[in-house]
C-alpha cells in the first residue's frame, strides 16, 4: 500500500518526532510511504479564524499535492477534520465545478492515523511496546468532527507493557481552540486547569492524544506546573518497540 504523508505544518515545524514515528510505524507494518516537499498548511488556522479567502489557495495546494495519492494519512485529527468537513464548503465558495469535484473525490482517501490503522487496515495490535502508565485525552475534533470513536484507545490497549488509565472528564475540551487560547487566554486557562487536574489525578506519567496542538497546550500547562507528566503523541507510542523505536 502506498501512503502519502500529510505531515501538517505544525508537526513538520514543532513536532518532527511525531512525523518520524509515523514513518517508522507505517514502514514497520510493511507499507511504502512518500512525502511531498510541496505540502505546507491545510488552512485550518486561517479558516477557523475567519480568513476564509486565504484558505482557498491552501486547499488548492493540498489538492495539487495529494490529488493522485492512494492514501493520505496525517498525525492530526483536527487537520484531517478540516479537509473532510471544511474543504467541501471552501470549494463551494470558489464556484469552480472542477475543484468541487476533485475535493469530493479526494476526501475519502484522507485519514487520521489511528482511524486509518483501525478502520482501514483493521489493525488494533501494531506490535508496540511502551512500558509506561498512560492516560489518553480524546481531542474535540477527533471526537465530534472526525468521529474516530475509540480507535486510539483500541490501539493503546494493545500496546505491550502500557498501563492505560482512564481520564476523568475525558470528553471535555482542554481549552486550546487555536487562536482561542490566545484571544481568550483567561477562559482557555480556566479550562486547561480543570483538564490538568484530571490528568494529574490519574497518576499517569504520560498524557497521549492524536493532536499535538492540544498536547502543546496541555503539555505547556503541565510543564509550567512542574507536574512531571509528559505529553506524547499516539504515533510515538505506537512506533516504540522492544527493540527501540
Amino acid at each position: 500500500m502506498q501512503i502519502s504523508l500529510f505531515i501538517t505544518c505544525f508537526n513538520d515545524t514543532l513536532f518532527p518526532e511525531t512525523g518520524k514515528a509515523m514513518v517508522h510505524l507505517l514502514e514497520r507494518l510493511g507499507h511504502a510511504v512518500d512525502f511531498s516537499f510541496e505540502q505546507t498548511c491545510c488552512g485550518q488556522m486561517h479558516y477557523n479564524s475567519g480568513y476564509h479567502e486565504e484558505a482557498i489557495p491552501m486547499l488548492k495546494r493540498f489538492v495539487e499535492v495529494f490529488g493522485d495519492a492512494e492514501y493520505v494519512v496525517a498525525p492530526s485529527a483536527s487537520c484531517v477534520a478540516v479537509v473532510k468537513e471544511f474543504y467541501p464548503i471552501i470549494a463551494e465558495k470558489t464556484e469552480d465545478p472542477a475543484l468541487i469535484k476533485v475535493v469530493k473525490e479526494l476526501i475519502p482517501k484522507v485519514f487520521e492515523l489511528s482511524q486509518f490503522l483501525v478502520e482501514e487496515l483493521e489493525l488494533e495490535d501494531v506490535g508496540a511496546y511502551y512500558p509506561h502508565r498512560v492516560t489518553y485525552h480524546p481531542t474535540c475534533h477527533s471526537l465530534r468532527m472526525l468521529h474516530v470513536g475509540d480507535a486510539p484507545l483500541k490501539l493503546l490497549r494493545n500496546v505491550k507493557g502500557l498501563e492505560l488509565v482512564e481520564l476523568p472528564g475525558a470528553l471535555e475540551c482542554c481549552g486550546f481552540g487555536g487562536t482561542f487560547a490566545i484571544k481568550n487566554a483567561d477562559t482557555s486557562i480556566a479550562m486547561l486547569s480543570d483538564k490538568m487536574a484530571h490528568i494529574n489525578d490519574t497518576g499517569a506519567e504520560v498524557c497521549s492524544s492524536i493532536d499535538n496542538s492540544c498536547l502543546m497546550h496541555i503539555g505547556g500547562g503541565l510543564s509550567r506546573q512542574r507536574s512531571g507528566v509528559k505529553p506524547v503523541h499516539l504515533a510515538e507510542i505506537l512506533a516504540s518497540t522492544e527493540e527501540g523505536a
Binding site: 516537499f37 475540551c173 490566545i182
Partner: protein, 479 residues
C-alpha cells in the same frame, strides 16, 4: 436595526476574567451545569429515536424559515379568527410602544409576567417602568433576578449563578421575611405567598411564547412552576410577545417539539405545565388576547443562508449546559440576554457586528462542538461561529480602520497566508522562526512571550522549535 441605536457592549475577553475569578459563581455554575448535563444525557438516552426526532425538528424549522412569510400571515389569520388581535413590531421600540399602549388602555399600573427572554431582549420592563407601570416577574428565578436588580445569566435558569444562601439573604431583605431559612421549600413558600396576591389582583398578564401554531393560532408556553399558567389565565387581558421564528406549521408538529424541548432543557420527559391557548374563550380565561410578532433583527438573520439556522432555536439551553466556556464564565460575560453558544451566534446577528461586544462573541468558543452534538434542532453552532468570524474579517478587510489593519494578528494572518502558498517561502519562514527564537528561550524553555502572545505564556510553557524539521529529516534520510 438602525446604526444609530447601537450601544457598544464590553467584549467577552475584556470581562471574562472577572467572572472566572468569582469562586462562588464558578462553584454554583460548575455544579448546576454538570447536574443538568448528566440528567439530560440519561433522559435523552431513553429515546431510541432521538436522532430521528432531532432530524425532524431540524427539517420542520427549516421549512418554517423557507416559508416564514406565508406562515406568519396564516398565523395572523388564525389568531384573529379565534378572537385575538395581532400586532407587528419591527423592532424593540415598536414592540414596547404597542405593549405600553395596550396596558394603558386597561388602566393597569401593575402587570404580571411569565418568564420570557424575548421581553428581556426588548427591555420591556424598563419601557413599562418609564410609563409608571410596574412589571412583576413571576417565574421564581426571574423574580430572584428582579429583586436583586441583577441580570439573568442563563436562558432557562436565570438565577443559576446564585445559590440558596444568597437567595435567602435576598428574600430576607426584599420580602421582609427576617426568619427565612435557606431550605428550598421555605424559599419557594415565601415567593408563593408574595406572588399569589399579585396574581389575583393583576389585570394584565404578559408572556412570551415557546411556539405559535400557524394552522390553529394556538400559542404555547411550557414551564415548571405553574406561575406562568396563573399569568396566562387569571388576568382579563393577556399580551404575548413572540419572535417571528417561533412558528410551527401545524398542531401535529408538537409531536416532535414536545418531545425534544423538555428532554433537552430541564431533562424531563414532559414539562409539569404545558399551557396552550387559542384566541379567547368567552367566560374562560382572558377576554382580550394580543399577540405581538417581533422582528428586531430576525429577518436579517433569515437573509444569511448559513446564519439562518440560528432561528431554529427553541431556547432549550442544552448548549449552555454542555459548553466548557459558559460553564466557567457564566452568562453575564456575554453581555446579552442570550448567553452561551447560542447567544454567541444569535446576539451578533441580532445586534449587528458593528457592536464590539457582539462581534467578540463568535470568538468566545474553542469550537469544541459539544453544543452541536446536543442541539435538539441540529443547529451547527461551530459552523455558524466560523461563518461569523469570516464576516468580521471580511468587514475588517473592506472597511477596517488603520489600527485594525495593523493589528499584529491581522498582519500575521495575511503574512502567513502568503508563506503557505509557496513551499520555499514556508521553509525560509521555518528557519527564521528557529533562528529568531533565542530571544525568548531560557533554560531550554520559552516561558515568556511578547504582545498578543503573552496570553499563551501566562500559564503555558513552550518548547523551542527543534533544530531539524520533519522535512529536513526526510531530506537527509533519502539522500
Amino acid at each position: 436595526m438602525s446604526k444609530k441605536s447601537i450601544q457598544h457592549t464590553p467584549t467577552f475577553e475584556e470581562t471574562a476574567n472577572a467572572y472566572l475569578t468569582n469562586s462562588q459563581l464558578r462553584r454554583n455554575l460548575g455544579h448546576a451545569t454538570h447536574t443538568i448535563r448528566n440528567k439530560r444525557t440519561k433522559i435523552v438516552g431513553e429515546m431510541p429515536d432521538w436522532e430521528h426526532l432531532r432530524e425532524a425538528g431540524n427539517k420542520l424549522k427549516k421549512r418554517v424559515m423557507r416559508h416564514l412569510g406565508s406562515y406568519l400571515l396564516q398565523l395572523e389569520e388564525s389568531v384573529e379568527k379565534a378572537g385575538g388581535t395581532v400586532h407587528w413590531a419591527r423592532d424593540a421600540e415598536e414592540a414596547n410602544r404597542i405593549i405600553v399602549d395596550l396596558v394603558k388602555q386597561q388602566e393597569a399600573e401593575e402587570v404580571v409576567k411569565v418568564k420570557s427572554i424575548t421581553t428581556d431582549e426588548i427591555k420591556l420592563n424598563e419601557a413599562l417602568k418609564k410609563e409608571g407601570i410596574q412589571a412583576l416577574e413571576t417565574d421564581l428565578a426571574e423574580l430572584i433576578v428582579q429583586l436583586a436588580e441583577d441580570e439573568p445569566s442563563h436562558i432557562l435558569v436565570p438565577a443559576i449563578h446564585k445559590n440558596r444562601a444568597e437567595i435567602r439573604d435576598l428574600f430576607q431583605e426584599k420580602l421582609n421575611n427576617k426568619e427565612l431559612s435557606d431550605r428550598p421549600e421555605d424559599l419557594a413558600e415565601a415567593a408563593r405567598l408574595y406572588l399569589r396576591k399579585k396574581f389575583l389582583s393583576a389585570r394584565v398578564g404578559i408572556s412570551g411564547a415557546n411556539f405559535g401554531v400557524a394552522e390553529t393560532g394556538t400559542v404555547a408556553v411550557v414551564e415548571s412552576e405553574g406561575n406562568g399558567r396563573m399569568c396566562t389565565t387569571l388576568p382579563e387581558t393577556l399580551i404575548t410577545v413572540m419572535g417571528i421564528e417561533k412558528i410551527i406549521p401545524t398542531w401535529q408538529d408538537f409531536e416532535v417539539f414536545m418531545q425534544l424541548l423538555p428532554r433537552s432543557s430541564t431533562a424531563e420527559r414532559m414539562n409539569p405545565y404545558n399551557s396552550f391557548w387559542t384566541g379567547v374563550t368567552p367566560g374562560d380565561g382572558p377576554q382580550e388576547f394580543h399577540l405581538v410578532l417581533l422582528d428586531n433583527g430576525r429577518t436579517n438573520v433569515l437573509a444569511d443562508e448559513v446564519g439562518r439556522q440560528t432561528l431554529n432555536c427553541i431556547r432549550c439551553s442544552a448548549c449552555l449546559n454542555v459548553c466548557p466556556v459558559y460553564e466557567r464564565t457564566g452568562g453575564h460575560a456575554y453581555h446579552s440576554v442570550y448567553p452561551g453558544p447560542i447567544g454567541a451566534i444569535l446576539t451578533p446577528q441580532l445586534k449587528g457586528l458593528e457592536d464590539d461586544g457582539a462581534a467578540s462573541l463568535p470568538y468566545a468558543s474553542s469550537l469544541c462542538g459539544a453544543c452541536y452534538e446536543v442541539c435538539p434542532v441540529k443547529i451547527d453552532i461551530p459552523k455558524v461561529l466560523v461563518h461569523l468570524r469570516g464576516k468580521i474579517v471580511d468587514e475588517k478587510k473592506r472597511n477596517g480602520s488603520i489600527k485594525q489593519r495593523l493589528n499584529p494578528e491581522h498582519v500575521g494572518m495575511k503574512w502567513m497566508a502568503r508563506v503557505f502558498q509557496n513551499s520555499k517561502k514556508y521553509e525560509r519562514a521555518q528557519k527564521i522562526a528557529r533562528s529568531g527564537q533565542w530571544l525568548f528561550v531560557k533554560d531550554g524553555t520559552i516561558s515568556k512571550l511578547p504582545g498578543q502572545l503573552s496570553g499563551w505564556s501566562a500559564m503555558r510553557d513552550l518548547k523551542p522549535i527543534p533544530d531539524q524539521t520533519f522535512r529536513g529529516w526526510w531530506r537527509t534520510r533519502n539522500e
